[in-house]
Each structure stands twice: as C-alpha cells, then as structure tokens.
C-alpha cells in the first residue's frame, strides 16, 4: 500500500463499494442511491486495539489524496501533506489515517459525473441531492468495512469541519475526539450567497446544458468564474495586499480589459486549473450540501445526551468566510454541555486559507491533542478507568 521510494512517499488510492441494489443507501432527501463507490487512501497501520484510527475529512474541493505522492514522478503531494505523515502533526507512525473523497465528489467517489447504472450514462442532474449527513453516512460504511469500532479522532477544516461535527451528531459513540477547524454549525446567509453566486456562474454557462454536458464541451468558463469568486473568499484583504499589492504583470497599464494586475492573473490561473480537475455538477451538488448544513440548536448534541467526545476547535483571526464567531458558537455548546474541549483562535493573516497554511501552530495543537486522546483511549481500552 505504501513504501518509501527515496524521499517520496508513494500512496495509492483505493476503492470501496457498497449499497448494491436492492440495499441502496437512503439519503436525507428520501431518495435511494446505489451502488456507491468511495475512493479512499490510508496511511500508517491500525494497531491491535484498533483505537488509533484518525479520519481526515477534506474541504470543498479536496480529495482522498491527503498526503504523499501517487508516483515517483508526481510533482504535487497530497493536499495536507504538511500535516499528515511520519513525524508530522498527524503522525502516521502512530496513527492509522484515513481520508476518503466525499459522496457527490468527482475524485473517484460516486457523484453526478459517475455512470448511472440504470441508463449507462453519467447521472448529471439525475443524481440525487446529497447532504453532509449523507457524506458522513458513506464514510461510516467505509469505517465499518475497515473494521474500526471507534475513531480516535475525526479532523477537518471548512467543509471537512462540517463532516467532523456531523460525525459527532450522527455517531457520538464512535468518535473519541473531534477537531473541527475554520468551520461552522450552520451556513450563514453570506456563505449561502457566495455558494449561490458560484452555482449561478456555472449554470449561466451555455455549455452547462442543464447538467448534461458529458461527452460535450464542459462549462469551463462558468466553473472557472465560480472558482475565482471562491478564491477571493479564501484570502484576507491583508494577505492579498501582501501577495499581490497592485503589482502589474507588465510594467505599464494596457488600457484594455486584458490582465493588468497580478491578482487578476492569479485568479485566472486558479480558475483555469480548477476546471481541469473538477466537475461542474459536483460543484453544484457539494455547495448545496454545505448550504443545507445546520447543526445549530440541540442538533449537534441531542438533549439529555452526555457528550464523551473531546473537542479541539480551531479558528483563524482573519478568516471572514468562516469567521471566528462561528467557532465561538460551537464553543458555546461545548461549555453548556460540559464537554472536555480546547479552543484556539490562531492569529493569522491568511484568511480562510490559513487552515492549510498555518501548519506550525495547527500541528502543535493537533499533535498534543491526539497524544492526550490516545492516552485516554489506551487507558479506557485496557480497562483501568
């Protein structure tokens, strides 16, 4: 599954299939879906007590490839390679790390670009609406398949953090600790608004063809535009100033609508790159899943339940897409329910992107939090509590 190849750590994406008809997965919307394929990667080794498993949940545009390389020629490591690996914050020498592509995604898991077995053609808009709860349900089937009774921790930022919270809501007994980062209990109107603008950009592209563009030219312009908007929300005013200021691509204004400023070039580059790896319909489905997400009130912890899951909540000062006040809302519930929890608001200027960039601080918190959780798990599992 993995071997050291010089410096490069080679990992392979694997696939798990379940919900074969007639035992399809019943989704939150009431519709059934099956069979379902989930792409996943694992790192490290599951110990004998099976109590060292850490599930990493990816953000909106992520995938199962969280760390390492797919081949010796591979130039790009996994999306959180600085956090996950031997000796890193989530230390694969200690923990068995799992990451899977979300249901509805386009990086190996079943989504709108997958073949509908009933028609033999891609689902397109026939794909049912999936929610964060459905994504977690699919992950739970994978965790069952891997033979893990209780996860040491579920970790994720942004939409990954929503899955973390959903895991606690859906399966409190199977999550020993939760690390929601730069996330929220519910999407705010501002967050829904940005998502809707992105969706409208995709759907306004004539190539979108009501989602039936497979085998034709995909709605690249619309999707790239949606991604450009997204990237603005991931940065802070300050980080944009530091990264681009008003620097020009050439030394003078072109006095045209060409790309004058570096920031324009950056957004264009990001947009153009995104369409090569992301399916436009998945963009619609996954943003909708985030918009439906709402674990406010007593939906995170049902009334009367004693919460045994430990929490590490992390927010970033300059994040205006998932502002710290939304993490405070999580912390408020933790206080009210007497949950063993830590909250840290990291003083970062990177905006929402910080959760992928402020690695040193995050690693420090996560490393020690996981160590303590493992200590508790080992104590409990050897029956000395």
């Amino acid at each position: 599954m993995k071997k050291k190849d010089e410096q490069k750590w080679i990992v392979k994406t694997q696939f798990f299939e379940f919900a074969h008809p007639p035992r399809e997965l019943v989704l939150e919307c009431g519709r059934k879906l099956g069979p379902i394929r989930i792409a996943y990667e694992t790192y490290g080794t599951l110990n004998e007590k099976r109590n060292n498993a850490v599930l990493v949940c990816h953000a909106f545009s992520g995938n199962a490839h969280v760390a390492g390389y797919h081949s010796p020629e591979d130039k790009q490591p996994g999306w959180w390679d600085s956090m996950v690996g031997p000796g890193k914050g989530i230390d694969t020498n200690r923990y068995f790390v799992i990451c899977s592509n979300v249901l509805g995604g386009c990086s190996g898991s079943t989504g709108p670009s997958s073949i509908n077995p009933k028609t033999g053609k891609p689902y397109g808009l026939d794909f049912p609406i999936v929610t964060i709860r459905d994504m977690v349900e699919a992950q739970r089937h994978l965790i069952d398949f891997l033979g893990i009774p209780r996860l040491l921790s579920v970790v994720g930022g942004s939409m990954g953090g929503m899955q973390v919270l959903q895991w606690v809501a859906s399966y409190p007994d199977r999550v020993r600790s939760a690390i929601p980062i730069a996330t929220t209990l519910k999407h705010s109107p501002q967050q829904i608004a940005f998502d809707e603008v992105g969706r409208q950009a995709v759907m306004a592209d004539p190539n979108w063809r009501m989602g039936d563009y497979y085998g034709h030219k995909p709605p690249e312009r619309g999707l790239a535009l949606a991604r450009m908007i997204g990237h603005i929300t991931y940065m802070s005013d300050r980080s944009m100033e530091e990264k681009f200021s008003r620097r020009l691509k050439e030394n003078k204004y072109s006095f045209s609508f060409g790309t004058d400023f570096e920031v324009e070039g950056y957004l264009k580059y990001r947009g153009d790159n995104f369409v090569k790896r992301f399916d436009a319909n998945s963009y619609l489905y996954i943003t909708k899943a985030m918009d439906y997400f709402d674990l406010s009130g007593d939906k995170l912890f049902p009334h009367g339940l004693t919460v045994k899951t430990r929490f590490l909540v992390i927010a970033f000062k300059s994040d205006w897409l998932y502002p710290a006040y939304q993490s405070h809302e999580i912390v408020r519930l933790l206080k009210m329910r007497g949950v063993d929890a830590t909250y840290c608001e990291i003083n970062s200027t990177y905006g929402h992107d910080a959760f992928l960039l402020e690695i040193e601080e995050e690693s420090h918190l996560i490393r020690h939090f996981l160590e303590k959780t493992q200590e508790i798990a080992d104590k409990e599992d050897s029956g000395c509590v």
């Binding site: 909250y343 840290c344 918190l365």
Partner: protein, 197 residues
C-alpha cells in the same frame, strides 16, 4: 510547586471538577489532573499560553475571562479558580458572581496592595508601589484593580460571600500575623452557598 499553587492544591479534593479562569500555561491544572485526578478546564486569553496548555494535556478555551462566562451552566464545577487574574478584570462583582454561580466554591488569589513594601515606597518615596506580587511599573502593568486583603474581605462581606478559608503568602512562606501588612498575596476560598459555609 509554587506556594500559591500548593495552597490551592491542598484545598481541592480528588476528582473535583475545576474551572481555572486565567489558567496561564496550565501548570496548576496539570498538577491537579495528574495528582488529584480532577477534571480540569482552563480559560486563557494569551495564544502562546494556549499552546503550552495543550502540550501539558490541559483543555483550555482561548478567551478573556469575562465574555464567555454566561455559557457555563449553574454549579457545573466544584471549584472556579481566579488566581492572580481578578486584578485584570474590569467588572469584579459580575465576574465573582459568575464564578460562584458556575462553581460551588471559588478560589480567589489577589496581590496585596497594602503590603509593607508598597506602603513604604508610596509613603516615603512618593512612588507607585512595586512589590514581588505587583512587579510592574505604573506604565506597564496589566492590572486595572488594586485591592488590599482587608478590601477583599470587606467586599465579600458586602456581597454576602462566605470566606471558608484564607491563606496569606510572603515570598517563601505563609504569613500568620497582620497579613494586610506582611502578606504579598492573599488566597481566599469563598462560597455563596449557606450549607457550605
């Protein structure tokens, strides 16, 4: 162990639930957890201190003391600790009321502004007091409230808090006589509950 930590350590019974408001780097909670099996939770404003807490396995909320207190349920802790943090708080009455709403008992450690050295410095030299317990110059101090041991006792009487125990500390040992003159710090164990008094 620091002398003030030793006093608090002796007061708190094993297995108690403890909320340390202004827990700093979590040293006290770490010792209480390791040696007395308490269930501890800290609150601390300094980001660097949060990292030190987490290193020690201490759970801590990154926040100032005053703003998030309302979220803790009534009597959800056996003890709330305000050790060397009350002098930095604006709304003393509110914070103490909250500490005693959340905790059955509260531990309050304060620097004594009426210590002999403070009085000498003020009276003979006309300078703002600086003592080992109040080490900052007037321009740099984070303290916004200055109280003496007698002040705090009076405050408790007016507010109806019962003082269950009080210990007075010098640089290296406990002070038994005239604490308001000779103690650098006072540590009080207080409660609002009549049946505990």
């Amino acid at each position: 162990m620091r002398l003030d930590h030793q006093v608090i350590f002796d007061w708190i019974e094993p297995g108690a639930r403890v909320l340390d408001l202004g827990c700093g780097e979590g040293d006290l909670l770490a010792v209480l957890t390791a040696q007395k099996g308490v269930i501890g939770q800290g609150v601390e404003i300094n980001e660097e201190a949060i990292y030190r807490c987490v290193e020690k396995g201490v759970s801590v909320f990154h926040s100032d003391i005053e703003s998030g207190l309302g979220d803790f349920p009534d009597q959800s802790f056996d003890y709330t600790i305000l050790n060397q943090s009350l002098q930095e708080v604006r709304n003393i009455g509110h914070v103490l009321d909250e500490a005693l709403r959340i905790g059955k008992k509260a531990v309050v450690g304060i620097p004594n502004f009426a210590h002999l050295r403070a009085r000498v410095r003020l009276f003979f030299r006309g300078r703002t007091p600086i003592t080992p317990a109040l080490p900052y110059s007037w321009a740099e101090t984070p303290n916004i409230r200055f109280m003496s041991i007698i002040d705090f006792k009076n405050f408790c009487r007016v507010k109806g808090y019962h003082i269950l125990d009080a210990q007075f500390l010098g640089t290296h040992r406990r002070v038994l006589f005239w604490p308001n003159l000779f103690a650098l710090n006072g540590i009080f164990l207080i409660t609002k509950a009549k049946h505990l008094a």
